[in-house]
Amino acid sequence: MSDAHDEAAGARLSIDGVSVEIAGRRIIDQIALTAEANVVGLVGPNGSGKSTLLRTVYRMLRPVAGQVLAEGRDVWSMGAREAARVTAAVVQDNPGDLELTVAECVATGRVPHGRLLGASTAADRRAVERAMAAASVTAFAGRDVATLSGGERQRVQLARALAQEPRILVLDEPTNHLDIAHQLELLALVRRLSITTLVTLHDLNLAAAYCDRVVVLSHGSVAAAGIPKDVFTPELLRKVFGVKAAAITNPLTGHLHLVYSDGSHS
């Protein structure tokens, strides 16, 4: 079958010296990172500016300095619709009371592709079907989104993002409210897609297991960037997260795994 996933395969995302100010306060300062056809995890304590950085990528916020480049082009130089055809986002604040069915919700992913007068084209329908299959929500297609569990709704949102046929995917804390099985399942799915993905995560072990590279933010700046093994050192964890940690190897997967202590047992 013709593989939309190949066509959607990762564009190069370049965040170049981006700073954002809100109400006079500088939230993030001179952030630089790149991603291309891989999964980059963005981690950091609360308030470090992760969501703010993501918002600059899907054009919710405009940086006061620096540029966000998708395939070498400033996202603010494209129109909003064109940018939405390149970049899709799954955000945290989804209204829980959506009056849409799953199919209708996923179909909104085609908005950036549509000509104005909206009868869906065959291409639209194919994209929606593929997206639902990729996110394993086809079985729910006729159901109201509001009747699904948190994990299922996240997958629907992901399907919607995939329906945009993006080449860059931005996920803001996609594993919140999910149980363990669904957390692993979602991230495994994301890894399987070849879309350039920037994902914020709370759980450093998930980042270590599923991200090709991680970027650690602290107080609005990049504290460290690289492969998880190199980045997640006890010093960094102590300095940035304020915890005592040790790195071990996960016996089931062979991946880096962090274990913590609050220091009261030392």
């Binding site: 129109g79 970049t87 209708e104 909104t108 079907e129 299959a133 297609a141 009747t147």
Partner: protein, 353 residues
């Protein structure tokens, strides 16, 4: 792809069928509305009057002058106005519910109707009578427009207008202006005529309809609905939340303003002509969504047809229940519409596991 996936995702035939059925029902309702009334006229006579007007060779009619006047000058424009007003209110309601993402939003959520009412009541209590027939619609429209602008201005914060602030400002404005209206009524010292007209206007009525009333509202309805259907995708995007909509490439702030402007115009024009008729704008979109889904390319035209149909049918009741007296149609829309809506609610279990 599984057959199941393909079947679910292709646009259902149902929306098109629904629209076809609603169109026929509207036609039937108009025909019925013209055929019945507090003065009974034989159906064949009714048809002959219409034929005489409409057919280019004017076959002539056996109707008396009074009957011809009743059918052509009173009933037909009234039925057409019912269609236009009902359609406008339902479309405006559907759009507003999507844009503020609040299922309780109705066309009057920005204080449009209370603004129009204040202006109309001011004119009616100061200079009642047929003079009002000229300046009441103009005053009502001006009041509606002024209130909408005020609500927008009040809901702004740092140049942005969020749905919640808009609804709150609109509700507060409604309360304020309603009090002013009540005060004006209290101050009007003429019992009988002056107050009766005010009450009739406040309840919403199609009874004053004549051909002259149809021009502007019809034009606005057609242009607005076509425009809104073209923007259907954006309306769909609104349903997913502001941030997601923005990530889909929608300029949320600007789109919201444009949509508000269109609906305010639609509602203002209608309220100027018929007063504030409640229920239609609130409930018709919900009922329509239960049947055709949430895709606005179907919701908008279906709402227009269903809203027009509801109002024409209810108006028939308004004219017959206390004949030769009339009940203002606004009093009846909820009485007739609500039970039907509740029935639909019970029947629909759309997508619930």
């Amino acid at each position: 792809m599984t057959a199941q996936a393909a079947a679910v995702v292709t646009p259902a035939r149902r929306p098109k069928t629904v629209i076809a059925v609603l169109s026929l029902a509207c036609l039937a309702a108009v025909v019925l509305s013209v055929a019945v009334g507090s003065v009974s006229i034989a159906p064949t006579t009714v048809i002959s009057v219409i034929a005489d007007h409409v057919l280019p060779w004017h076959p002539g009619t056996s109707a008396t002058a009074v009957q011809a006047e009743i059918v052509w000058e009173f009933r037909l424009p009234r039925a057409m106005l019912g269609l236009v007003v009902g359609a406008s209110l339902a479309v405006a309601g559907a759009v507003l519910q999507a844009v503020v993402r609040n299922p309780l939003a109705d066309p009057f959520v920005f204080g449009v109707s209370s603004g129009a009412s204040v202006a109309a009541v001011a004119v009616l209590t100061v200079a009642s009578g047929a003079l009002a027939a000229v300046s009441v619609p103009v005053a009502a429209f001006a009041g509606a427009l002024a209130t909408t602008l005020a609500v927008f201005f009040l809901a702004q914060r740092r140049g942005r207008v969020t749905p919640n602030r808009l609804v709150l400002a609109g509700v507060a404005m409604s309360y304020l202006l309603s009090s002013v209206t009540s005060y004006l009524v209290l101050r009007a010292s003429t019992p009988g005529g002056g107050v009766s007209e005010v009450l009739s206007w406040l309840s919403g009525s199609l009874a004053a309809a004549d051909w002259g009333d149809l021009g502007v509202p019809s034009l606005v309805l057609i242009v607005a609905t076509v425009g809104l259907v073209l923007l259907a995708r954006i309306l769909n995007a609104f349903l997913t939340g502001d941030e997601t909509a923005a990530s889909l490439g929608v300029d949320v702030g600007r789109a919201r303003l444009v949509l508000f402007a269109i609906t305010s115009l639609l509602v203002g024009v209608v309220v100027a002509v018929s007063g504030a008729i409640g229920f239609v704008g609130l409930m018709v979109p919900h009922a329509v969504r239960m049947v055709v889904g949430s895709d606005h390319q179907w919701v908008l035209p279906a709402s227009a047809l269903a809203g027009g149909l509801l109002l024409v049918v209810v108006d028939i009741g308004a004219r017959l229940i206390l004949a030769p007296s009339e009940v203002p149609v606004g009093l009846l829309t909820a009485v007739i519409g609500a039970p039907f809506f509740l029935w639909l609610l019970r029947r629909s279990g759309r997508g619930e596991a």
